[in-house]
C-alpha cells in the first residue's frame, strides 16, 4: 500500500475514532497502530516512540505550571487578582468585560493553561456579569477569547511543548509571546470599549483602594516574577522555575492568605498528578503519529507543496502554514497539532530560513485562535458549558472578536523585528544571536 494511502487511513482512523468519542490519546494510538501495521513498522517501535515522546526534561515543566494553577485556583487566591483587576479597570466602559481581560492577563502569567483560565474566569466572573445584564453568549465569548492569552504569555504550556519538541528555546518563546499576548489583551479591551456591551457604570476606584487591592494580591503576583525572573537570569530552567513557584505558594502564599487550605494540599497534588498526565499521554501518542508522518515522508510532501506555492518567501510560507494550522486546529487540539506537524514545521523553517522562535510564536498564536473557532474551539466550548449558553450562540458573539486575532497573527508574521525585540534584548542566544568575538555585545542574524 502506498505511503499517501496509509497516511490518509491513519488520519481517517484518528479523526473517525476521535469524533466517535474515543479519548484523543487512544484515537491517535489507534490511527498509528493501523498505519504501522499497513506500513510494516513494528508496533513495539511505535510503543517506543510513545515513550520517547514523554521522556523529556523540558516537558517536566508542565506538571509544575499546572500545579501552580491548581494551587492558585483551589486556594482561592484568584479572588484577590479579580479584585485588583476590578479596581484597575472596573470603571472603564465595558465594565466587567474589561475586568475579564485584565484578570486573564494577570492569571495567564501564573497558570499557563487556557483551560484553567476559562474555568476560573467562568466561575469567578460569569455570575457577576450575568447579574449585571451581559448576555450569556457575550460572556462566554469574551471569557474564551481572553483565556487564549495563556497560550502565548509565559509560562505558556503550549510554548513549553513547542520548545521541547521543536528544539527551540522555551525562554525565547516565552519572551516572543509577550507582544502578541499583549496585542490580544489590549485588542480585546479596545473591542469591549467600542463594540461590546457598555456594562454597569461603576465609580473609579480611589488610589487607596487600588493600592490596597495591589497589596492584597502582591504575594500571588510574585509568581510571574519568580517564573520569569528565574528563567531570564539563568538561575533556573523553566522546570525548576515551576517547582520554585510551587514552593513559594506552599511556603508563603497559602500560609499568609489561606491557612485553612493547608490540609487540602495533598488533594491538590493528587489532582495535579492526574491532570498533567492527560496532555502528556496525548503528547506521547502524538509523537508516534508525527513520527509515522515523517517516516512515510508526509511532512516532506506537504513542505514541498507549500514551497512550490510560496517559493522561498518566508512570510508567504508562514501564511500558508497558518492557513493549514487554522484548518487543523479547528479539529485537533494545539498540543497534538504541534507534535504531529513538527517535522513539517522544521522542514519549512529551514527552507524559508525563518527564525525558529518567530515561527513558533506565529503558530502558537494561530493555535490559540483555533481554540475559539468552530467546530472544535475547546475553550469556547468550555466557556459556553460553564456559562450555560449554546455553543452556536457563543460562537456568533465571538465572530467579531476574530478580527483581534487575525490582526495579531498578521502582525506577528509581518513584523518579526517587533516580536523578537524582547527576546533579543533579554536572552539574545534564544533567537540565534552569539557573543561578539570582540567581547562587546552580540551579533544577531537579520
Amino acid at each position: 500500500m502506498s505511503a499517501p494511502v496509509i497516511l490518509a487511513l491513519m488520519s481517517f482512523c484518528f479523526l473517525f475514532f476521535g469524533y466517535l468519542g474515543v479519548p484523543v490519546p487512544f484515537s491517535l494510538m489507534a490511527g498509528v497502530f493501523v498505519g504501522a501495521t499497513l506500513a510494516d513498522v513494528s508496533l513495539a517501535a511505535i510503543i517506543q516512540k510513545i515513550f520517547d515522546g514523554v521522556d523529556s526534561e523540558a516537558l517536566l515543566a508542565i506538571p509544575f505550571f499546572l500545579l501552580v494553577g491548581e494551587l492558585m485556583s483551589s486556594a482561592n487566591v484568584v479572588v484577590r487578582i479579580a479584585n485588583l483587576s476590578l479596581s484597575l479597570v472596573g470603571h472603564i466602559r465595558g465594565g466587567l468585560s474589561q475586568v475579564v481581560v485584565v484578570f486573564s492577563m494577570f492569571f495567564s502569567e501564573m497558570s499557563g493553561s487556557t483551560t484553567a483560565d476559562v474555568a476560573v474566569m467562568s466561575r469567578a466572573l460569569g455570575g457577576p456579569m450575568k447579574r449585571e445584564g451581559y448576555s450569556p453568549a457575550f460572556i462566554a465569548a469574551i471569557i474564551a477569547s481572553a483565556s487564549t492569552i495563556a497560550a502565548l504569555v509565559p509560562p505558556s504550556i503550549t510554548a513549553v511543548v513547542y520548545g521541547a519538541v521543536g528544539n527551540v528555546s522555551i525562554a525565547g518563546l516565552f519572551m516572543a509571546g509577550v507582544v502578541p499576548g499583549l496585542m490580544i489583551g489590549f485588542g480585546l479591551m479596545i473591542y469591549c470599549y467600542f463594540f461590546g456591551p457598555s456594562g454597569m457604570r461603576k465609580p473609579r476606584a480611589p488610589f487607596r483602594q487600588v493600592a490596597f487591592a495591589t497589596a492584597d494580591a502582591a504575594l500571588p503576583l510574585m509568581i510571574p516574577v519568580i517564573l520569569l525572573g528565574g528563567i531570564l537570569t539563568g538561575w533556573f530552567t523553566p522546570t525548576e522555575a515551576g517547582v520554585v513557584a510551587v514552593v513559594w505558594i506552599i511556603a508563603v502564599v497559602i500560609p499568609a492568605l489561606n491557612r485553612g487550605h493547608f490540609r487540602k494540599i495533598p488533594y491538590d497534588f493528587c489532582l495535579a498528578g492526574l491532570i498533567f498526565s492527560l496532555p502528556l499521554i496525548t503528547i506521547g501518542a502524538a509523537n508516534a503519529f508525527g513520527w509515522m508522518l515523517a517516516y512515510l515522508r508526509g511532512a516532506i510532501v506537504i513542505a514541498d507543496w507549500i514551497t512550490s506555492i510560496a517559493g522561498n518567501d518566508p512570510q508567504y510560507m508562514m501564511l500558508l502554514l497558518v492557513l493549514l494550522f487554522t484548518i487543523v486546529g479547528d479539529f485537533i487540539e494545539p498540543v497534538p497539532t504541534i507534535i504531529i506537524f513538527m517535522p513539517l514545521v522544521n522542514a519549512l523553517t529551514q527552507a524559508g530560513d525563518i527564525n525558529g522562535v518567530h515561527m513558533g510564536v506565529v503558530l502558537i498564536a494561530t493555535l490559540a485562535f483555533g481554540l475559539i473557532t468552530p467546530p472544535y474551539g475547546l475553550v469556547l466550548l468550555m466557556a459556553s458549558k460553564f456559562v450555560g449558553v449554546s455553543f452556536g450562540k457563543a460562537l456568533r458573539a465571538a465572530l467579531p472578536i476574530y478580527v483581534v486575532f487575525l490582526v495579531t497573527i498578521c502582525f506577528t508574521i509581518y513584523f518579526p523585528k517587533v516580536v523578537l525585540w524582547l527576546p533579543k534584548q533579554v536572552i539574545p542566544e534564544s533567537v540565534g544571536c552569539f557573543k561578539s568575538p570582540a567581547g562587546t555585545g552580540y551579533i544577531c542574524p537579520n
Binding site: N76, A124, P266
Partner: protein, 194 residues
C-alpha cells in the same frame, strides 16, 4: 466529605463496580505521591547544585517518577472519563445507537490497551539490554509501566463495557460542582453608562 471521598469520582456510578473505587483511590494517591516525589527531587536537585554538590542520581529519580505518573494517571483517567475528547457525539445519542457507539468506543480502547500490554511487554524485555546512567539500572524499570498502564486501562474499560451493557450507558448525571471558586463581589453599580 473527606479528601479520600473527593478523590474517587462520583460521576457515572452506573458504569462502575464499587469494589474498584478502592483501586481508583489507591491510584489517585499514587499519582499524588509521584507528583510530590518528583517535585521534591527537582527541588533537591536545585539545592544540591546550588551548594556545589549535585546529586546526579536525582535526575534519574525525577524522570522515573515523572514517567510512572504519566502512565498511571492515563490509566486512572480512563476510569474517570477525564481524558481529552474531540467531541461527545455519543452523549447526544439515546437507545440502541448510543449502545452501539459506546460499545465501539470501548472496543477501540480495549484494542489499544492490548497493544500497550503486549508490545509494551516486548519493549520491557528488550529494556534489560540498555542501562540508565549514572545508576546502571536497566531501562526496563521505566518500560515496565507501559504494560502495567495498558492492563489497568483494559481493566477499567472492561468494567465500563460490562456495566454499560447490563445497565445501559445512558444515565442522567447531576451537574458537576467540584470547583470551589466563589463569584467575586463586583461592587454596587451606579447604573448604565451613558
Amino acid at each position: 466529605m473527606t479528601i479520600a471521598d473527593k478523590l474517587v469520582l462520583q460521576r457515572q456510578q452506573h458504569l462502575k463496580w464499587r469494589s474498584f473505587d478502592r483501586l481508583e483511590l489507591v491510584l489517585m494517591i499514587v499519582c499524588g505521591l509521584l507528583c510530590f516525589g518528583f517535585s521534591l527531587s527537582v527541588m533537591f536537585d536545585i539545592i544540591t547544585r546550588t551548594v556545589g554538590h549535585p546529586w546526579l542520581w536525582l535526575q534519574e529519580v525525577t524522570s522515573t517518577l515523572f514517567i510512572y505518573a504519566i502512565f498511571i494517571g492515563a490509566a486512572v483517567a480512563t476510569r474517570r472519563n477525564d481524558h481529552l475528547y474531540l467531541t461527545g457525539i455519543s452523549e447526544s445519542l439515546h437507545g440502541t445507537p448510543r449502545l452501539i457507539v459506546e460499545i465501539a468506543i470501548r472496543l477501540v480502547v480495549l484494542a489499544v490497551a492490548s497493544c500497550l500490554i503486549w508490545y509494551g511487554y516486548l519493549n520491557y524485555l528488550r529494556g534489560f539490554g540498555s542501562f540508565r546512567l549514572p545508576s546502571g539500572t536497566p531501562i526496563a524499570s521505566l518500560y515496565a509501566v507501559i504494560p502495567l498502564s495498558g492492563a489497568l486501562i483494559a481493566l477499567f474499560t472492561v468494567e465500563q463495557l460490562v456495566n454499560g451493557i447490563s445497565k445501559g450507558f445512558d444515565h442522567p448525571e447531576p451537574p458537576e460542582e467540584d470547583f470551589a471558586i466563589p463569584p467575586i463581589d463586583a461592587g454596587a453599580p451606579m447604573g448604565p453608562l451613558p
